[in-house]
Subunit: 406 residues, 2 copies
């Protein structure tokens, strides 16, 4: 499909703004109740929805809960079954680490371990970025090499860090099981290799876990590490070449910048801390004339869902709503509001539920959907579709696709 | 999928009538307004819709604007990515020209060229069929052969004509770029070969353009030619064999007759000029007992959209509505109303928007869709689906498909 689209693409001056509200889809706390989106007061989104077409997007496939990687890749038009990128590679690229052939990047979480190495908190109480950096510093001092393999450790944010194993003489495999059991009350798992090339990597990972716990044993909270998402280096067709777009990423969290940069988008500088919404708008405004596609990422709709904080997620949605007029003021020819997956507060995790999709352009049909909510989206004329449908629809609405066949 | 269907097909006496309202899907002129279909007064369609199941059809894929070829092939159940046919071959076959191996058929438009060969009108003001025939006569006299290759020129209608290059000794390729820039205010393009076999064809096309302009240089309006859609001869599985149907085409425009004949339908004689709606109904009535599948094509819903004439498109929809009772009187077991693509008057071109699908049979569930419009179709139980889903649904509703598996 990417090849078909590439053959039909024409360059125009029209501008596309794709807003990804991370994990925006939700659930009611009680059956029959309202979701976070439906609970939020969103006058600006409502007004836009009345003029736009809505639908539902199942990012990857029916019943499949997308990780952030597959969710975003699907939105960018890359079949998430074909184009696979590990979370480690994403995080590494996102903080500016260059990965080479045979290197393996691993995404780590700091965790709190109690008696008997049982996991009390998979995110170590979400430490501050300062605490994270300090802890990474102690690990770096203790683990610069394991069994002759170079080990690099990078701070990310809160509980997140990245480890890169580099063994240029003998490339490492990335096909091994997670240390993170994705559960509390149990011990971290032992990583096991799924193929010959990953045996060495599994040994390295398990040795790292042991060494880290020894190093951090005096810490009450940030005293364990969990790994999931091992990745070697992926090679994807360029987003810009495929779609004939000058594409920019506006995001503040490393993983999203990493993903955008893996598909070849320019990653714009964003000022501010955390989600930095105002900084993102400033970045968008500053480079508005230099690009014709913007991927604009909002993170906190997801993290509040992951925390199980329904009312805070509602609030983050309302904060985005307040920001929306500043985006519309720039006059994008096409604006899309979508999520990369659902993160219902009720589940405190990503989920398989579709996310609402809103597309606004001059070429919209009227539909019965009056708000950007899960329930209203079902009334929209865009129907229920896969994530990889989004980019072709945006290009079409921006009049960037020629007719297929005579 | 075609093979699966073929294996399940059983022959019965039930009759299917597939009405294709060309380009029927539309857009409101202003956001939030009504489409052509929703604006039209269509009591007969409305009554049928209340008793039928509705849905939306995305003919080819999300965001893809179908040409008439892919749009129709999808409706006939042929995957439009796998079964590709050029417009030239369609037009040639449609006017009864037999194509052989190594021949190339090209679809031409008469155009109006201004000073500096700049295109003023890509359709030369839509000349009358008489003017078309007269102009083709002049070209025939001037160009019967180019560089040793036989050149045949056929009148089609209005601004459309077909050229066939025949070079039996050395087969011609059909992989070359268009002369038609699909824009005004610019010069015609120079055709370029995309492979070795098409180099000769590109030379022939460019020589034809030059010779035609020289021949027509005294004409104020019909003084240039544009080419797009080159085709060698495609080979498709037979529609009748695949579906176990005696299938007939009722259409008046060459391209649609050509397409139907390429998949092996009988093309019935239609009396009358232009869309000849009454002639089509007469043809349907005359041969009602001799076939069990009828493809009934209505063209003007598309041409009025292409002309950007919203109100005229509304009127053409209403004309079809007046005709509908005569179709229903014949008592088809299954009647489908669908389009091969959308042609919003607002865009004056084909578009990617889904078209409404209506299926009426004894085996319909009640749904909330009350009219054959884009917005109502979204409420229908048939959902949003691909063009290739239509034939299996019609066969099923006509009880012509056996159970799959035991």
């Amino acid at each position: 499909m990417l090849d078909t689209i590439r053959a039909l693409v024409k360059k125009t001056d029209s501008k596309i703004l794709m807003v990804v509200l991370d994990g925006v889809g939700g659930l009611p706390l009680e059956l029959g109740g309202e979701t976070e989106l439906a609970t939020a007061t969103t006058p600006n989104l409502d007004a836009l929805a009345k003029q736009a077409q809505l639908g539902q997007v199942e990012l990857v496939a029916a019943g499949i809960t997308p990780g952030s990687g597959p969710g975003h890749l699907a939105l960018f038009g890359y079949d998430p079954f074909r184009y696979v990128v590990g979370r480690g590679a994403l995080s590494a690229v996102g903080i500016g680490v260059k990965l080479g052939y045979g290197d393996v990047a691993v995404r780590g979480n700091f965790a709190t371990l109690g008696a008997g190495r049982v996991i009390d908190d998979r995110r170590a109480g979400r430490p501050s970025d300062e605490k994270n950096a300090e802890t990474v510093g102690r690990l770096k001092a203790a683990i610069s090499e394991l069994d002759g393999v170079k080990v690099e450790i990078y701070t990310e944010s809160e509980h997140r860090f990245v480890v890169v194993f580099r063994n240029p003489g003998s490339p490492l495999g990335a096909n091994l099981s997670d240390v993170d059991p994705q559960d509390t009350g149990v011990q971290p798992l032992v990583a096991e290799a799924h193929d010959e090339a990953s045996k060495k990597t599994a040994e390295l990972v398990n040795a790292f876990v042991a060494r880290a716990e020894a190093t951090l044993r005096d810490e009450p909270q940030v005293n364990g590490v969990l790994f999931r998402g091992y990745s070697d280096v992926p090679h994807f067709p360029s987003f810009g070449d495929t779609y004939g777009l000058r594409a920019a990423c506006i995001a503040s969290y490393p993983m999203y910048k990493g993903l955008a940069s893996l598909v070849g988008m320019d990653v714009l500088e964003v000022e501010g801390v955390d989600d930095a919404l105002e900084g993102k708008v400033a970045a968008l405004r500053k480079d508005w004339d230099n690009y014709d596609f913007f991927y604009f990422h909002v993170k906190k709709t997801d993290s509040t869902g992951e925390d199980g904080n329904f009312h805070e997620k509602v609030h983050k949605i309302e904060l985005f709503d307040e920001l929306l007029p500043q985006l519309l003021e720039l006059g994008p020819d096409v604006i899309a509001i979508v999520g990369d997956h659902s993160t219902p507060s009720k589940m405190q995790s990503h989920s398989w539920h579709p996310v609402p999709l809103l597309i606004h352009s001059q070429y919209a049909r009227k539909d019965a959907a009056e708000r950007y909510t899960e329930e209203e989206a079902q009334k929209g004329t865009l129907g229920l579709r896969r994530g990889t449908d989004v980019m072709p629809l945006l290009l079409a609405n921006a009049l960037k696709l020629q007719k297929y066949g005579a």
